[in-house]
């Protein structure tokens, strides 16, 4: 029972945590490059230099006494996002969509007072959300406007696209959708929906919530079978270009689509998680092998995207089996 399940995972090419740490993270990501992605301000700076769009920085706070000026800093903006500069996994992010006198409204409609925001900022500065509890800084960013394409696919949050980039080649992608269960956050552990996206076309392939397949958004009931991510080529090229700006060989790139400004990089991750395999219903290992077999990395991100689209396009689409029915039949008979 145990052995057959190990065998099955192996044959699917599923990569485990130990394999990821050993064969990918420690192999492709030199330790000294971590600060580039762990510090979101540095990431932002690098991305802007490379001409990549990022959410607009409204302000930063570095010291506890800066908290006093918080009200003045925030008064100019109706909508903003407060983030820890060195946070990870979406921790410590506070989104405000509206402000009215002394009340600030969260996407859920809950109102909080200024003191709550001050405490939140002070906690971030003390290092509550940073790796290892080190003192941190706070960044205030402009709020991203949800692209109408995703309007019905998200509950209280902006969907973000996670692309795994190995040596500059995008190898797998997943759309993360906030749900009521995840409290508006795009964190799969907390109940967000992960939708596997076909590298070849940008179409949804398969979706999971809590590791189990789902076919429509649990809150909006919108089915996933006709979900296609727009600007697909541009998104992949943006993700691929992050290899050059960071030098990290195994990278998780988080991209959001803004209604007005198009794709933007919001975060880079040097230790991207493995749930993306569940969302895509396929393993990373075969794709890693293809990239590792390459003799040299093509310096042009656009050319790398073309390579990825050719080699990592889905063989079958689990949501739209009818479209590629002949292929699917053949493929599934091999698999079963």
């Amino acid at each position: 029972m145990l052995l057959t399940s190990i065998k099955r995972l192996k044959s699917m090419g599923i990569i485990g945590m130990n394999q990821r740490n050993f064969g990918l993270v420690s192999r492709y990501n030199p330790r000294h490059l971590y600060p580039l992605v762990d510090d979101k301000l540095k990431t932002k700076e690098l991305a802007q230099k490379a001409g990549i769009t990022v959410p607009k920085l409204l302000g930063t706070l570095h010291y506890q006494h800066d908290v006093k000026q918080l009200k003045e800093t925030l008064s100019a903006y109706q909508q903003f996002v407060i983030k820890p500069v060195k946070g990870s996994g979406g921790k410590g992010i506070l989104v405000i969509t509206e402000q009215d006198h002394n009340l600030y409204y969260k996407p859920s409609g809950d109102a909080v007072k200024l003191t709550h925001i001050k405490r939140h900022v002070s906690n971030i500065l003390s290092g509550l959300h940073s790796l290892g509890g080190k003192p941190d800084s706070v960044m205030i960013e402009s709020l991203i406007q949800i692209d109408p394409v995703f309007a019905n696919y998200s509950y209280e949050g902006i969907p973000d696209l996670r692309v795994i980039v190995l040596k500059g080649y995008p190898i797998m992608a997943m759309l993360r959708l906030a749900t009521h269960a995840s409290d508006g956050r795009a964190n799969l552990h907390q109940g967000a929906v992960g939708v596997g996206i076909d590298i070849g076309t940008g179409e949804a392939l398969h979706a999971v919530q809590y590791g189990e397949p789902v076919y429509h958004h649990p809150d909006t009931r919108k089915p996933f079978y006709d979900l296609t991510v727009p600007h697909w080529n541009k998104l992949l090229t943006l993700a691929a270009a992050c290899y050059e700006i960071t030098g990290l060989g195994y990278l998780g790139v988080d991209i959001v689509l803004d209604r007005d400004q198009g794709p933007m990089i919001i975060e880079l991750n040097a230790r991207p998680g493995l749930s993306i395999q569940v969302a895509n219903f396929s393993g990373l290992a075969p794709r890693v092998e293809i990239v590792e077999a390459l003799k040299e990395v093509n310096p042009d991100p656009q050319a790398r995207v073309e390579f990825s689209k050719k080699h990592f396009a889905a063989v079958r689409n689990l949501f739209r089996p009818r479209r590629k029915i002949n292929q699917t039949r053949k493929q599934s008979s091999i698999l079963t």
């Binding site: 399940s5 190990i6 699917m12 485990g16 130990n18 569940v278 396929s282």
Partner: protein
């Protein structure tokens, strides 16, 4: 690839050094591998009594030979006013007491503590003794002897069987006339010994008398028993002269070999020696540590045993930590259990050792539970992080003090052990769990809390196992083996047990495949 080879050779080297040291201590120094290994230590006291007549006195007593399979713990020659020296001649040890003049009843003591060790002893090379001289016997005796020897010879094939047959015939319950004449039932033990030696000499077999003591607990006023030892051309074989059984009986201490006197007293009359025996049980480990220290075995001389007892006890605990670390490594890398703080479970396990399991878990849950409640109030007070953790530390100490006082008033003395919990660690645990609660919800707190506690309990069970405790303290080399295991585990890139569940939906066939 080369790094891999280097690592594996380092691992192998470390592993075999560890195993080698353990084997050396077990086989060469005799360290037992199990904690309950016990040995009987025999304390034998020889008491020499005689009447002195005012002249210079010299007492000479044969002392037991130092056989390799025996460990002499202590030898003591207590006799007031007597000078003492130990003399070794012709492979025989003798103790000599002397005094210029003595009058009246005199007593000298020789005390020996000895135990049998488990060392594997190679058979020592013995030089072949010179062929025996034919004894001179009167005619009647000679004839009877020859007849008997002929009978026995007819029934035997070699010297060993011959001796056994001879002794059995001499001891037969229905002796014929010949045998009765030879064995002279009124004579004592020594007569029989000499008779057997004479008969063996007539047959041309080299033989000697062996005097020894049957070790039995609580015996007093014992005397030595005579055995006969023959040389069959290759080795010496010991025979019981009353039964003809060969080989050394269990609990038989050989005191003297050969025909010299057991006790000589010059300047005294009515001398006699008697033996008393006491049996004690000792743990083998203590005996071995003592004897190794006496022998100055370097590996023991530069070990934890050379530290003062207090530090030794501290090390008992410290040496258990690697076992806990191994458990954590296995739980995280192979099983994939999430714990709050990498090594917090070991610290909980250490506290559990002091408090015992059930009490410890209850106290832990009470402290952390109460702490979380109070911490959730503190989070409303808008405090800076360091101040908040410090506040939580004070809260934890207050909870611990309350538990101690309340349980003491209620007469529950077990709960007083609460002070063994590391308070700063508990405070950090509470702080992290409370943050986890706010960010990831109570489910994650339960998962990580249960994971930490489970790991701690498993580590506790290993660390309190008597055998594990014994082995880690007495064979610190085990740490090398442990290190090798951890290095190997650090190379494991397969799935974690929990990942089989995490990816289980991928492992199953997809619904569409079923069509």
């Amino acid at each position: 690839m080369q790094a891999q080879v280097r690592l594996y050779s380092a691992v192998l080297l470390i592993f075999f050094i560890g195993i080698g040291l353990i084997l050396y201590k077990h086989l060469a120094l005799g360290f037992p591998l199990m904690p309950d290994d016990k040995k009987f230590v025999w304390t034998i006291e020889a008491k020499i009594d005689f009447q002195a007549q005012g002249d210079p006195v010299i007492i000479s007593l044969a002392l037991p030979p130092k056989e390799p399979y025996l460990t002499f713990m202590e030898e003591d020659f207590a006799s007031s006013d007597y000078g003492f020296s130990e003399i070794t001649t012709n492979n025989e040890r003798r103790g000599q007491w002397s005094k210029r003049s003595a009058q009246g009843a005199q007593t000298a003591y020789y005390r020996l503590s000895v135990y049998e060790n488990d060392k594997i002893v190679e058979e020592p090379l013995v030089d072949t003794p010179t062929p025996p001289q034919k004894p001179e016997l009167d005619e009647v005796f000679m004839t009877a002897s020859m007849t008997l020897l002929e009978q026995v010879r007819a029934r035997s094939a070699n010297a060993e069987i011959f001796t056994r047959e001879l002794i059995q015939t001499l001891n037969s319950k229905s002796p014929n006339q010949n045998q009765r004449l030879l064995r002279n039932d009124k004579a004592g033990e020594d007569y029989k010994t000499n008779l057997i030696l004479d008969l063996l000499a007539l047959e041309g077999i080299s033989a000697r008398v062996v005097r020894g003591l049957f070790l039995e607990d609580g015996r007093r006023r014992q005397s030595l028993t005579n055995f006969v030892e023959i040389h069959d051309g290759r080795q010496w074989i010991l025979f019981n002269q009353d039964t003809g059984k060969s080989g050394k009986p269990k609990n038989f201490l050989i005191w003297q070999r050969g025909g010299q006197s057991l006790l000589d007293v010059v300047g005294g009359r009515n001398s006699q020696v008697s033996f008393s025996i006491i049996k004690n049980t000792h743990s083998t480990r203590n005996l071995v540590v003592n004897s190794s220290q006496n022998k100055q075995a370097t590996i023991i001389d530069f070990s934890i045993y050379s530290l003062p007892i207090e530090q030794q006890n501290a090390f008992k605990m410290i040496l258990l930590l690697p076992i806990g670390a191994l458990v954590v490594v296995i739980m995280r890398i192979l099983v994939g259990i999430r714990t709050s703080g990498t090594f917090m479970p070991i610290l909980i396990a250490l506290a559990l050792i002091e408090t015992t399991l059930i009490t410890g878990i209850i106290i832990f849950l009470i402290v952390v539970g109460t702490g979380l409640m109070i911490r959730s109030y503190l989070s409303r007070l808008n405090l800076l992080l360091v101040a908040r953790i410090s506040a939580v530390i004070i809260v934890v100490i207050t909870i611990i003090a309350s538990i101690s006082i309340i349980s003491h008033k209620l007469g529950l003395s077990q709960a007083l052990t609460v002070t063994f919990f590391p308070m700063v660690i508990l405070a950090w645990t509470i702080e992290r769990m409370s943050v986890l609660w706010e960010e990831d919800g109570p489910r994650e707190v339960l998962i990580q809390g249960a994971g930490s506690l489970l790991t701690a309990i498993i580590a506790y069970l290993f660390m309190t196992n008597r055998t594990v405790e014994y082995l880690t303290f007495n064979f610190p080399e085990l740490m090398l083996v442990n290190l090798a295991l951890i290095l190997i585990l650090g190379q494991y890139t397969g799935y974690r047990l929990t990942e089989l569940y995490r990816f289980h939906s991928v492992g199953k066939h997809h619904a569409i495949d079923k069509h």
